[in-house]
């Protein structure tokens, strides 16, 4: 338990030193209520960075949602995701037979914890944002009490792109936007595109 926590703070410290991460709270503040932080996904370090920019008491109650097909394949990854990051591992294959991912995520929210979710469903190697998967919508329906906070992660994809061994020490900025307001009777697609543009609003202008 002690070692897990020590490792978690060491990783956060390393991520901070490498990226000089700066958190901009634009329309929301750090808060202990159950939240779903949904962010763009470029690098495996993404949720470490979100973690590192939350105050330590919130950090321990905020759990990343991670793909079981990647994180449960080697003993080291299993140890990191289960013990250090306390992730919620979901099976993202279409023909799964195990527990329902939305129910798994919901349990954490019901226990008063927060989640970090990457609704693109996979790491995006291009610019901008991929279309969102529907999990965020199901989660929002099932847990209207949880606040949905968009988080734009700038530059981490350039620090450590897929397949590179050595990181480039660029500066990263995290922009936390205002919570998504619920809209009565909104369709799934309308909700997902609204959530997607709320996240894109936080991105710096494309050049």
């Amino acid at each position: 338990m002690f070692l897990d926590r020590l490792l978690a703070s060491a990783l956060c410290g390393f991520a901070r030193a490498l990226t000089g991460v700066r958190a901009l709270w634009l329309g929301s503040e750090p808060d202990a209520r159950p939240r779903v932080y949904f962010a763009n996904h470029r690098s495996h370090g993404d949720f470490v960075l979100i973690w590192a920019s939350l105050p330590p008491p919130l950090r321990r109650r905020t759990r990343p949602v991670a793909g079981a097909d990647y994180w449960l394949t080697t003993p080291l990854r299993r140890f990191l995701i289960n013990r250090v990051f306390r992730g919620v591992c979901i099976d993202r294959r279409p023909g799964r037979s195990g527990p329902n991912p939305v129910a798994q995520m919901g349990e954490a929210l019901a226990a008063g914890e927060s989640l970090i979710l990457f609704p693109e469903g996979t790491r995006n190697m291009g610019d901008g944002l991929l279309p969102f998967k529907s999990g965020l919508h199901h989660l929002a329906k099932a847990h209207p009490e949880a606040e949905l906070i968009p988080v734009w992660i700038e530059n981490l994809g350039r620090v450590m792109p897929k397949g590179s061994l050595i990181p480039v020490p660029l500066l990263c900025t995290l922009s936390f936007g205002p919570p998504l307001t619920p809209v009565e009777g909104e369709s799934r697609d309308a909700f997902l595109s609204r959530a997607r543009s709320a996240l894109l609003d936080l991105a710096p202008p494309a050049d």
Binding site: P161, I166, L170, L171, C172, P204
Partner: protein, 314 residues
């Protein structure tokens, strides 16, 4: 005259001035702002506080000696390059070129100062990095905006590493009758150029009206520019006794580097404007990023280096 006596005199003077500024800042906070939050006064006090830390850091580096100064400027270059590339568009294919810039060319440039290899120092980045980095990027097999990306990486290395490295390179100059005193040249350069930044800010706040170029910088005024450059030219002339120059020469050189310093801030403001940001970073409270603080030194250091090298090195 003993170099360390002069250094102690100059740093004593700076710390004395900072103490006076801190008192003025506290007085303004108490009298004008009445202890309430006040944008300009709070920013002024944050700037003065950061100056204490920056001067103390430079003083410590000088006290350690040439290795301390080289290490300090290597760190400043590292931080500036970080800020520059962070705000610059690069793509996946540039990853290896960026690794070369940060982990090979930057340390090599400062290592060449430490080993006094002037020939390679002066061409490492303008020639070798200039040719090798685009080769590395081309191996990324991504042609999208290729020339633009290659140009940006090279430009960042020139401004943040090559130009800034001319400050510690002053230590390698052999000036007749000035042996053991080269550290004072660095003090002269930094003090003159940075005081020009400070006096431009002060004159601008006091009597600034006409903007130099609203399209590039909303805060730079003609009055601030003229007042700041002239005041710190006087500062430079008054510091002739720590240099190998006569008072007139010191004044003229100060004028040249102050004008260059102004344009350093001006050019980098144009880039910030284009990228839609006010500061390069948030490292130094009240000042913005590291590059915001040293942009003027970056533009003036190579010119100062070459003036001294051609005029005073036997």
């Amino acid at each position: 005259m003993n170099a360390s006596h002069d250094l102690i005199a100059v740093f004593g003077g700076i710390f004395g001035l900072l103490a006076v500024f801190s008192l003025i800042g506290a007085g303004l906070k108490y009298r004008v702002a009445r202890g309430q939050p006040h944008g300009v006064i709070d920013n002024l006090n944050a700037r003065i506080k950061a100056w204490w830390a920056m001067i103390a850091l430079i003083g410590a580096a000088i006290w350690i000696g040439s290795w301390g100064v080289i290490a300090l400027f290597a760190f400043i270059s590292f931080q500036c390059l970080r800020e520059f590339i962070s705000l610059t568009h690069t793509r996946l294919g540039d990853h290896r070129a960026l690794l070369w810039s940060f982990f090979v060319f930057l340390p090599a440039q400062y290592w060449l100062i430490a080993t006094n290899w002037y020939g390679l120092f002066s061409i490492l980045i303008p020639v070798y990095a200039f040719l090798l980095l685009p080769i590395s990027s081309s191996l990324g097999a991504d042609t999208t905006r290729f020339l633009e990306r290659a140009a940006k990486v090279q430009w960042g290395l020139m401004i943040c590493v090559y130009c800034l490295s001319h400050v510690p390179a002053l230590l390698t100059l052999d000036i007749a009758g000035y042996a053991g005193r080269n550290m004072l040249l660095i003090v002269f350069l930094i003090l003159t150029v940075q005081s020009s930044d400070v006096f431009q800010y002060v004159w601008g706040k006091l009597i600034g009206k006409r903007k130099v170029s609203p399209a590039i910088s909303p805060s730079k005024t003609v009055e601030g520019l003229v007042g700041g450059v002239l005041t710190s030219t006087a500062v430079g002339a008054a510091l002739w006794w720590i240099t190998p120059f006569t008072p007139l020469e010191a004044g003229l050189i100060a004028l040249v580097i102050n004008v260059m310093g102004f344009f350093g801030g001006f050019v980098l403001s144009a880039i910030k404007r284009d990228r839609g940001v006010k500061d390069w970073g948030a490292m130094i409270e009240g000042h913005g990023g590291m590059l915001d603080r040293v942009d003027s030194i970056s533009f003036s250091a190579p010119i100062f280096f070459h003036i001294v090298r051609y005029g005073w090195v036997a």
